[in-house]
Assembly symmetry: C2
Homo-oligomer: 350 residues x 2
Amino acid sequence: MEHGADLLTYKDKFEGELIDFSSNINPLGPPEGLDEVLINSFKFLVAYPDIQYRHLRESIAKYLGACKENILVGNGAVEIIDDFIMKSGSVTVMLPGFSEYEKRAIAHKKEVYRLYYNDDLTINMDEFNNLEEGTLLVLGNPNNPSGLRIPKNELVKIYKLVKKAKAYLLLDEAFFEFCPDDYNSVELFKEFDYESVGIIRAATKFFALPGIRLGYGCASKKKVIELQKSQLPWSVNALADAAGQHIFNDKKYIEDSKLYIEGERNFLLTELPKIKRIKVYPTKTNFILIKLLNCNEKYVFNFFLSRGILIRKCSSFKELEGDHIRVAIKSRENNMKLLYIFKELSKGEN
Amino acid sequence: MEHGADLLTYKDKFEGELIDFSSNINPLGPPEGLDEVLINSFKFLVAYPDIQYRHLRESIAKYLGACKENILVGNGAVEIIDDFIMKSGSVTVMLPGFSEYEKRAIAHKKEVYRLYYNDDLTINMDEFNNLEEGTLLVLGNPNNPSGLRIPKNELVKIYKLVKKAKAYLLLDEAFFEFCPDDYNSVELFKEFDYESVGIIRAATKFFALPGIRLGYGCASKKKVIELQKSQLPWSVNALADAAGQHIFNDKKYIEDSKLYIEGERNFLLTELPKIKRIKVYPTKTNFILIKLLNCNEKYVFNFFLSRGILIRKCSSFKELEGDHIRVAIKSRENNMKLLYIFKELSKGEN
């Protein structure tokens, strides 16, 4: 399996508790009051969740400023991406990007087309000139692992090229809330009634609830009805359903988290470039891609692991050749530890 | 949507709390101590579940008397059935049966072949003589909605015909634990190393946890590896993962529930046939299919609804022509209420 957060595999490699920099979760933890909401919802476990998730979809619609009829829910972002892939003619991915897009396409026996980021992992608009008719173009926004948020003007251009090609644009915005408030694609595409575009988000990363499995999508009302017909029933569990009716209302938590990550991102983006022999990619979100200029990811992975920190090797991202790692942005205390080990690593190489 | 348990749709139709006879859940509720297990597991929500669900699969393996490597887990039985369907050449269903099999086959654009139960809803072995090579034959055991448990000798014969046709037999045993201890297909097919056969069960019905979304399957080690490759990642939520490491150990609960249902089944199968103008199908599980001899399901559905009881109309099961209903077996108090309304119904028809 090619994902971060595989703590169970590595827990015996270090005496003491591993600090997980391999998965990109809000270091502030979930919103307050969630435990109480969950305890009060135990009574719902003895019944099926509402098969239409009416209250949950209303809560998400209110949070997004969309209509309930534009909202799909699922077992994490990945299940909703899978729902779109299942109904697509073919799948177009951009590399390096999240491996699950291609994996799901292959699981559904879909043709996969591959486009490429520039060497500095920015977008080359020429890549979108020959999109296949009917293809589902899946773009991480911000992209995982690079942290690139698609600039607004480029996103609008891509959308126009997608429409022209009679294709469909699927934006995976699982890390949206960590980004600066430059634009919001749910607002941006509202005037087009989400024709040919879907936006996926989740409680997983920003609300620090990867274990609860709650993702959602915003798309045209027509697309939502089409996808609901082939969705698995009841894939959001009753407690995730209840949590989703609580967390999106916590404006203070959302604001605090955004500010906290902004502060730590600025801190790491100031300090990390001072380390020798690594290249730090700019990021707009809560993780940072790092190119190792003279050692391989395996050596660095083990170097950090033996010091109690789990980082993400990136060779499972196609186009990253074994010399990239990804680290999450965590609490100041943990970020300092990370920096300390980076300094040790760079010393060892003198 | 064509399922029971849609309480939210009907709750305004009756002043007071509806009694849900439309979904077939253990009336004793979930095992004791579950709340505590869940509360102690809230801390796991901030991390992804183990992508391989190692502890959960071990717990299920122990419960079933199989190896961990034979076990698949998923978001309810339906997701695992979907995993099998996705990898199948075609899908063969038996009617009347659970509509989701055919629906998932259609979602995956699989050819669907239909076989038929006898008029009395028993099995006609001739139906299995011309199985398509590579087809996935999905059989409810016990079957929903009829309650028929496939007799052991017939099951072995079907398995042999499936092997001969180079097909695959998938047994949906979501209601297994409610049945008498005549045989256990996990034991029965162990000697064949589960070659060409998979068995699906779930926490949903017997452990009264439809809201938690926990299903599991037992298949050959080779099949498990094959299916894991195309399964959605992390589809069992962290609390369901924890619950699954608890509930299967509760031997007393399991024994008590089996005895309770047996008692209530005997009670209803003695009392219901005394009602005029209905035909009661024999059942080996916790629900009962009833044929209405001179009124339609809609009338009867509304008759019960207006008296606070939600029953299951069966016209969404192909081959049942609008004159069948299904009722769950519940607590003695509720079963008495059900009988009382049946008597009222039969009086009204005099």
